[in-house]
């Protein structure tokens, strides 16, 4: 049977099918969005892309805090008179239909004046009028059509980041000068001593000189800065020979034209800087819509509902919560501070914090920690601490989060550049000495020529192009890496540390098994319908697990929060829920997560939930085991030890009951043994370990939204490919080494000309671009070739 898909969101329509205009919808929400669009002539939304929509979620009261002016003020970019501009992050943006509908918001509400989407960043900036419209109505309008913006504490008062466009300017300047200088130096390449050419030679040369000024002093500025920094900290980085090359090129060329000795090397000079900057921009490829620097602020809401002394609800900014405040937490809301539960019971989803998907039961008087998501009817919590002092947020005040770039890491190019610089300088000086004795008139010429030709343009380009290309390929296959340094470090790992829950296991899928008395058709029908009416996550899962049944209206249906459901049909009363709720007999209680069922107070059986490991985990560990030491750190109890030891290679070390800071300390301990560690984790409880590790890889089911601070984000479905990614990064490094050899060969040819005193500007002008371009082509092709394994597995 072909599954019928919802016209709006593309989900399978299982039991609920709503037909309208000959189209099928999976739920009311999707239909409503369709109706809104068709009323406003916007059905073209569905023509641009198939089933582009998202089911709108219930947002009742969620954005009430946007009524408060001081909060709105912190969120908007710009305000003048009654016009306001706001930029909102919308995770759902994924296709051209999204762009189209969001840029046609003004068709839906005249309050919207203009809207513009930035697709790579998944952001929309909206200009709207505050007359009869507001930020709240805008957000609600967008939520209503399935484009709910994601607003978190991170947005609050965030300084609007100024884009750094200087690199583009510099490329512009260098490219402009390069083109013009090439053009002006062209006649000299042929060395024709024609009368008119001779006459204009000085003019052309001086023009070249002036064109090269901004290149040296503006576009190439960073190389000088970095070289000086390198010398100060006594590291011979690659920018030192580059800066030396640029300086010598410029001085030698200027001297040449001052004293009319020759045409100078302005063409090589501008070309060099231009190519180097191109390499920089290739390396800079970033995933604009992701953030690798998240802290708790990206997870927390801006405001929560507080019950004031008069017993009335009001919205309060999260930072203003004080000890003793009574807070009302609604369904699906995050608990922002540590507190004490006041309502009789609550179920809290700590999957953010621990990665554990099962709900945690809390009773009145229990302590609830910040970061948990409340599921079920609204509860009341009394704050114990302020936001910054809560258990979870305190993790961020740990030192690891303060340190910036790890200076210990020495990239391949740094290692090579040291030897390279020494070699070049010694060749240049020995050449100088030789010619001083042999023919002093040529000595300076040779000295400068060596420094010019040895300028490591090709070497400096190999890394950015090879790794930049791999970065892009990995990104296309669901593995997003922060920068090329991370990729390089990935090739040199000793230990891989995995988190269990949420990383190796899937936090969304469970294996459900039924044990007990056989269920009749009628039982099944009642169960299916009861689960249908419940919003509890386990009910949702069981609902999709059971075969489809007739839908009927329950005669009586009662949900007892945190306990279970009572439902009756045909004079039978069914109880579904926790063991205690269903039967007073203690023999039925079990350690695993289960939903128990009884009919007319006689016990029928239970549905048990078992966590399942992600596909390919076993194979992944087998293949990684050959090269790496593998460790599993789990926050859970030892319940799964036997399964893990059976499934994984024997050398894998298992640690249970690990708290966030003990995970971090464990990583530190391994690093102290001079090992390079990669941490693979997911929840906020891994945040410290991810940051402490040499590289932290966050596994995420939805890469758009949640992941803690890390160096790389991996789509959960790609976990089984991790060993391939790692081995490709290793091969990538070999490609770079190979291209180093190529560029050394080019340099050897150039040095021959330089040392024999025959370096003509035209030779430099040919050799430099030739070596650069061939390196770029070689690295790009080679990295494409080695990354074939992951691209293939993607396609099948």
């Amino acid at each position: 049977m072909v599954k019928e898909k919802c016209y709006h969101c593309g989900d399978d329509c299982e039991t609920t099918k709503i037909k309208q205009d000959k189209k099928l919808f999976c739920c009311r929400g999707c239909l409503t969005v369709y109706e809104i669009f068709s009323e406003n002539d916007l059905t073209c939304y569905y023509d641009l892309e198939q089933s582009p929509g998202a089911t709108p979620l219930d947002i009742d009261g969620k954005y009430d805090y946007l009524d408060q002016e001081d909060i709105v003020e912190k969120l908007i970019d710009f305000q003048e008179g009654s016009t306001e501009v706001v930029t909102l992050y919308i995770p759902h943006i994924h296709c051209s239909s999204c762009i189209w509908i969001l840029e046609n918001l003004h068709q839906l509400d005249p309050g919207v004046l203009n809207s513009q989407v930035d697709f790579p960043k998944k952001k929309v900036s909206v200009t709207y009028t505050t007359e009869g419209f507001s930020l709240k109505s805008l957000v609600e309008l967008m939520a209503k059509i399935g484009y709910e913006p994601y607003i978190s504490l991170d947005n609050y008062g965030a300084t609007k980041d100024d884009l750094d466009r200087s690199l583009i300017y510099k490329i512009g300047v260098a490219g402009f000068a390069f083109g013009n200088v090439m053009f002006l130096s062209f006649p000299e390449y042929f060395e024709v001593s024609e009368y008119w050419l001779e006459q204009y030679k000085p003019l052309f040369r001086w023009l070249m000189f002036f064109f090269s000024l901004p290149v040296v002093f503006y576009a190439g500025r960073d190389y000088f800065k970095s070289a000086i920094q390198g010398i100060r900290s006594q590291i011979l980085n690659i920018d030192i020979p580059i800066a030396l090359g640029i300086t010598v090129l410029f001085i030698r060329s200027s001297v040449d034209i001052f004293f009319d000795l020759g045409s100078g090397f302005f063409d090589s000079l501008t070309g060099l800087v231009f190519f180097l900057l191109l390499g920089k921009i290739v390396q800079q490829k970033t995933y604009k819509f992701m953030s690798f620097e998240r802290d708790y602020k990206s997870y927390f809401p801006i405001a929560v509902t507080k019950i004031n002394k008069k017993g009335r609800e009001e919205n309060v900014q999260v930072y203003d919560i004080e000890r003793g405040d009574r807070l009302r937490i609604r369904n699906q809301e995050l608990i922002p501070v540590d507190g004490i539960l006041m309502s009789s019971s609550a179920e809290i989803d700590y999957s953010f914090v621990t990665g554990e998907a099962n709900l945690v039961q809390k009773k009145s008087g229990d302590k609830v920690y910040a970061g948990g998501k409340h599921v079920g009817a609204a509860v009341e919590v009394v704050a114990e601490k302020s936001v910054e002092q809560s258990y979870l947020t305190q993790l961020w005040s740990n030192d690891v989060f303060q340190k910036g770039y790890d200076p210990k890491f020495q990239s391949l190019i740094d290692k090579i550049s040291k030897k390279f610089t020494i070699a070049v300088l010694s060749i240049a000086f020995s050449g100088l000495l030789f010619w001083l004795f042999y023919d002093p008139s040529l000595a300076l010429n040779v000295f400068t020529a060596v420094l010019i030709i040895a300028c490591p343009c090709a070497i400096a380009l190999a890394t950015p192009f090879a790794l930049g290309n791999l970065l892009r390929i990995f990104g296309k296959n669901g593995f997003y890496i922060k920068n090329t340094n991370v990729l390089e470090q990935m090739s040199d790992l000793d230990v891989l540390v995995f988190d269990k829950t949420g990383t190796l296991t899937s936090s969304q899928k469970n294996d459900i098994t039924y044990s007990g008395l056989k269920l009749t058709e009628e039982d099944k029908m009642v169960l299916k319908n009861s689960f249908r009416n419940s919003n509890h996550p386990l009910s949702r899962e069981l609902y999709s697990f059971l075969d489809s049944q007739n839908i009927y209206d329950a005669e009586s249906f009662e949900e007892h929060l945190g306990e279970g459901i009572v439902s009756s049909y045909n004079n039978h009363t069914y109880k579904l829920g926790s063991a205690k709720f269903v039967s007073s007999d203690p023999q039925y209680s079990s350690l695993s997560t289960a939903v128990h069922i009884s009919r007319d107070d006689s016990y029928l059986g239970k549905f048990e939930f078992e966590t399942i490991y992600r596909d390919g985990v076993q194979d992944l560990f087998q293949s990684l085991d050959q090269h790496y030491k593998l460790i599993i750190l789990s926050g859970d109890n030892e319940g799964e030890r036997s399964i893990l030891t059976k499934m994984l290679p024997k050398t894998t070390q298992l640690f249970f009951n690990q708290k966030p800071d003990s995970k971090m300390r464990m990583i530190k301990k391994i690093q102290a043994e001079d090992k390079k560690v990669a941490m693979i984790g997911d929840g906020l409880n891994d945040a410290g370990a991810l940051k402490q590790a040499d590289i932290g890889i966050a596994i995420s089911e939805n890469v758009n939204v949640f992941s803690p601070a890390c160096d790389a984000i991996m789509d959960a479905s790609q976990l089984s490919n991790l060993s391939k990614f790692v081995s490709i990064s290793k091969q990538g490094i070999s490609i770079i080494k190979l291209s180093f050899i190529f560029s050394f060969l080019y340099n050897a040819v150039g040095l021959y000309f330089a040392l024999t005193g025959q370096l003509q500007p035209v030779i430099a002008a040919i050799l430099m671009p030739l070596s650069s371009i061939s390196i770029v082509i070689f690295t790009t092709l080679a990295t494409n070739f080695i990354s074939k394994p992951i691209q293939k597995s993607q396609r099948i």
Binding site: L42, I99, Q116, V117, F176, L207
Partner: protein, 66 residues
């Protein structure tokens, strides 16, 4: 052949004009988003009903944006 001076001046001037345009467009943020405009330019009068006044208004708005 003194015309060379004139020609050089003109050619450099033209190059400088384009260079200035480039700088200007970077400053205006045209290079910040290199994907969305390529999709946006394909949208025009896509409203289903043939309501001419609405449609033209829409296209006006879009040209303003781009």
């Amino acid at each position: 052949m003194n015309v060379i001076y004139g020609l050089l001046a003109i050619s450099i001037l033209v190059a400088l004009v384009f260079f200035a345009l480039f700088i200007f467009s970077v400053k205006k943020g045209q290079f910040d988003d290199d994907y969305t405009p390529s999709v946006r330019m394909l949208f025009e009068d896509e409203l289903v009903k043939d309501d001419s006044s609405k449609t033209t208004q829409n296209s006006k708005n879009q040209s303003k944006q781009s």
